[in-house]
């Protein structure tokens, strides 16, 4: 692991009286892909939102390149090169595909490079090129997801926070997207923090993995090691004795609880 770019220390976040992050600490190294796994409501999205400043943490520190960024306004954090591709698309529904992409590059001034990156996004997702002038709100669910990812790429981030990028994408596109992420990571050395339900592809791409449960990190390790863990296999990879339909309808108890 290279130098640490992002370090989270004992983070706590609340929604009113509800504690969603209960003291999370983790480190992300330069050029690493870190994945965060966890069941529904574990607090994965909240963790990413807190890092990108959309939510204010109650306690704890977030260090990016050695500087504390917790409590900053989200746009200041984006300016430092952290880009968050949110869960659930969040496009600008009344703006065209093209305008959405331009906004991805809002903080940049290098016109020529921006156009090149736009072309790159269109190469990745040809359907977006076809629909350049369509209002983003009328795109199909998957097309919006492509747009959200493409828009994130337009920022040329140092570190990307990806919240369920494969949501609603066809199997073919899931492969493609992970191919793209892999290339970005290896060629451009973009650091990534990845939240995914599709644990298999996530662990396949990632160097390190964390498992969250009810706001806490309950397990961490290298992706390979996690891949081997029985619990992970059972709960996130679907390796159960379930080759025939309908048997085993009880739930296995998670051993880390």
């Amino acid at each position: 692991m290279g130098q640490t770019v992002l370090e989270i220390k004992n983070l706590e976040s609340f929604y009113g009286p509800i504690m969603a992050i209960r003291g999370v600490s983790l480190k992300v190294g330069q050029g690493q892909v870190v994945t965060v796994l966890g069941a529904n409501g574990a607090g994965k999205s909240t963790l990413l939102k807190t890092i990108s400043g959309i939510m204010e943490p109650e306690k704890g520190k977030i260090l990016f390149e050695g500087e504390e960024i917790q409590g900053m306004e989200p746009h200041q954090i984006v300016n430092r090169g952290i880009v968050h591709v949110p869960e659930g698309r969040e496009v600008f529904p009344l703006l065209s595909v093209d305008e959405n992409l331009s906004l991805g590059a809002y903080t940049r001034n290098d016109r020529v490079e921006i156009e090149r990156d736009r072309q790159m996004v269109f190469d990745y997702f040809p359907i977006l090129a076809e629909r350049r002038t369509q209002e983003a709100g009328t795109l199909s669910g998957g097309q919006q997801q492509m747009l959200a990812i493409g828009r994130g790429l337009m920022r040329r981030p140092k570190i990307m926070l990806l919240d369920e990028p494969s949501l609603g994408l066809s199997p073919l596109l899931v492969q493609e997207i992970f191919g793209i992420l892999r290339r970005l990571n290896s060629d451009e050395h973009v650091t990534m923090m990845l939240v995914e339900q599709n644990a298999r592809v996530a662990l396949d791409l990632a160097d390190v993995g964390y498992v969250m449960e009810i706001g806490r990190i309950v397990m961490e390790g290298s992706a390979d090691r996690l891949m081997e863990s029985e619990d992970i296999q059972a709960f996130y990879l679907g390796h159960q004795e379930q080759s025939q339909r309908g048997e085993r309808r009880w739930k296995r108890k998670k051993t880390w609880r």
């Binding site: 400043g53 746009h75 969040e90 305008e99 331009s102 906004l103 920022r155």
Partner: protein
């Protein structure tokens, strides 16, 4: 001849409504908030100019006072956002509506306390002199209103359509969270739009005051400008102008040709009529959600 005269002065008036409506639309386009105090901002802009110009107050030359008050009103708009509206960032539209209505109360009170409640006249060079073309009379102020309104609409339209900041403003109104994700300083952008609409209010106020006397209740005109903005399709700049012109033109014709007691209902009856057929105005900004 009558008809032409009615049309022309209707246009001039419509432009005043259009100018106020532009102010609403600006803020709506960038924040989706509806500013019920826009009419009162216009009134304040008029009074600030009057205070700077008229001899019994500061007595600056008009051409110095006008830009100065535009700048001042921009500052006031910005401060209103900074000190008050920013606290409501992310809260529902209805609360903002109520807040701005209350702001209108306060602005009216402040103007009354400073400049009194009696109507006053701005010493404006625009107030003097008429044009007469082919039997149609048009005041300087009317001319100025028409020209300025069209230019301003065009400028603002281009601003939203072509500039990065304009785009960012639209983005911020459609999805605040995503706007932050893009690195747009949403609050600062919204402050700027309040400043801008303060400036527009000042322009409207100066032109309005050049057409006649003003008092602290002059802002009630905002209600008709609302009708204009809604007819045009709330959120559309050309719509605001179009709506303003429609309301402006319908009025003189109604008072000319309808019986007393019925003519003054024309703008509101028209509004209801338009909404029956186009529930979201002529240049509708509302879309059906794709599910």
């Amino acid at each position: 001849m009558d008809v032409l005269q009615l049309l022309v002065s209707g246009l001039a008036n419509g432009c005043v409504y259009g100018l106020i409506a532009l102010g609403f639309v600006l803020i709506y386009k960038a924040t989706e908030a509806v500013n019920f105090a826009q009419g009162d901002l216009m009134m304040l802009g008029a009074f600030v100019t009057l205070g700077l110009t008229n001899a019994e107050y500061v007595g600056l030359p008009f051409w110095v006072a006008a830009p100065l008050s535009i700048a001042l009103m921009a500052l006031i708009g910005y401060l209103l956002d900074l000190l008050i509206l920013r606290h409501l960032s992310g809260q529902s539209q209805t609360s903002v509506v109520i807040l701005t209505i209350a702001m209108g109360f306060v602005l009216r009170f402040v103007a009354g306390a400073i400049w009194g409640h009696e109507p006053q006249t701005l010493h404006s060079p625009l107030a003097l002199g008429d044009f007469q073309v082919a039997g149609v009379v048009l005041g300087m102020a009317d001319m100025a209103v028409i020209v300025v309104t069209f230019l301003l609409t065009l400028f603002l339209y281009q601003f939203f359509q072509r500039t990065r900041l304009g785009l960012a403003m639209q983005a911020a109104s459609q999805n605040q969270m995503a706007a932050y994700y893009m690195g747009i300083p949403v609050k600062r952008v919204q402050g700027m739009i309040w400043g801008l609409s303060g400036a527009v209010a000042a322009v409207a106020g100066i032109l309005f005051a050049s057409k006649g006397a003003i008092d602290p209740n002059a802002g009630l005109l905002g209600i008709k400008a609302f009708a204009a903005a809604v007819i045009g399709g709330f959120g559309s700049l050309p719509g605001a102008l179009a709506g303003g012109l429609i309301v402006g033109v319908i009025e003189p014709f109604a008072s000319r040709y309808l019986a007393a007691g019925y003519s003054q209902v024309a703008p509101y009856a028209l509004l209801l009529f338009v909404l029956v057929f186009r529930p979201h105005g002529l240049f509708s900004q509302v879309r059906t959600k794709k599910v």
